[in-house]
């Protein structure tokens, strides 16, 4: 009888909403930056305040920009995987150390290992504002022509790397390790 089928129908409707809801997470919010040129910046390096690190450093390469801080739990969580990516992926990872304490940040890298080619020290968070950062950790994938290809909010994990990053990298590079634009392999 139809009335015994009512519960399953209601449940199915609810299920559709829940399924939609899963993908309305803050984590899947599309950044307005994606597809646009990455904002340019130049900041003192974390290791050496006299040296500058900025968007020029990764011009012409496919690179990752990872926003991190020692006060952020998610950064702690993704750190081992960043180290692995630095070893194996062939894509340079640049760090944006956000609203952090320089000594604490250096100590963190010394203790846990340093996955970054270089880290920019953004103590005031000005650059983070330009990049539309609204929490840490966040990871940007930047293409050879300097456009933002993808933005991930939250800890970077293997399944996310495979699902969201690898297809875009493959499209940009064709192969791993990613050849540089000038052809210097």
């Amino acid at each position: 009888m139809w009335r015994y089928a009512m519960p399953i129908v209601l449940f199915a409707v609810l299920g559709v909403f829940l399924y939609r809801g899963l993908y309305l997470n803050p984590g899947s919010l599309e950044s307005p930056l994606v597809g646009r040129p990455a904002p340019e910046f130049s900041l003192p390096s974390l290791e050496d305040p006299l040296r500058e690190v900025g968007s020029d450093d990764f011009a012409g390469q496919v690179a990752l920009l990872n926003v991190w801080a020692t006060w952020c739990v998610g950064c702690r969580q993704e750190h081992p995987y960043l180290l692995e990516l630095a070893r194996t992926s062939g894509i340079p990872i640049y760090g944006l150390n956000w609203k952090d304490d320089r000594a604490a940040a250096l100590e963190w890298l010394a203790r846990l290992g340093d996955p970054y080619v270089a880290s920019a020290f953004d103590s005031e968070g000005d650059v983070a504002i330009d990049w539309g950062v609204y929490g840490a950790p966040e990871t940007f994938l930047i293409g050879r022509d300097g456009t933002v290809l993808h933005k991930h909010i939250g800890p970077l994990m293997p399944e996310i790397w495979r699902r969201d990053f690898l297809p875009k990298i493959a499209k940009e590079c064709g192969s791993l390790p990613c050849p540089l634009v000038d052809g210097e392999e």
Binding site: L24, P26, L29, S31, V73, I129, G135, P137
Partner: protein
């Protein structure tokens, strides 16, 4: 049949009451940009969310009244609140205030909430901040 009728009536009446309560108690969320643009209602309570601007928290010494600015990076709204602030309320962090805006554009909060989570922001605020960023033209 009478019985079923009574039950149905009861359900209908309570559903009507519930919907009324629902409409009266919905809390809309507005970003500072929307408030500045005058999209927020002046006669009813809503929620305002954004980042507390660094250095903007001003308190009359010894008083419970505190004023601060809330921004979505595009626009900024002044907030006034009298009462005890939550533990996690901090400059540079996200806060959500519930209250009304007056004709001069000052938001008077009845309640201020700060998020417990240090990594993520409430989706409504996050979205507002993203839009604010986009609107201010990088």
């Amino acid at each position: 049949m009478l019985f079923v009728g009574v039950v149905l009536c009861g359900v209908a009446v309570s559903a009507a009451f519930a919907l009324r309560a629902f409409n009266e108690n919905l809390l809309y969320f507005f970003s500072p940009t929307q408030v500045v643009a005058g999209e927020a209602p002046t006669e009813r309570v809503f929620r305002l969310g954004g980042v507390v601007v660094e250095g903007s928290v001003v308190r009359e010494p010894g008083s419970l009244t505190v004023e601060f600015l809330v921004t979505d990076y595009a626009n900024t709204v002044p907030v006034r609140y009298t009462g005890v602030l939550p533990d996690l309320f901090r400059e540079g962090q996200v806060a959500v205030a519930r209250g009304r805006v007056d004709s001069s554009g000052v938001f008077t909060a009845e309640e201020v909430l700060a998020k417990h989570d240090e990594n993520y922001r409430p989706p409504a605020v996050a979205e507002a901040l993203e839009k604010g960023r986009a609107a201010s033209g990088q």
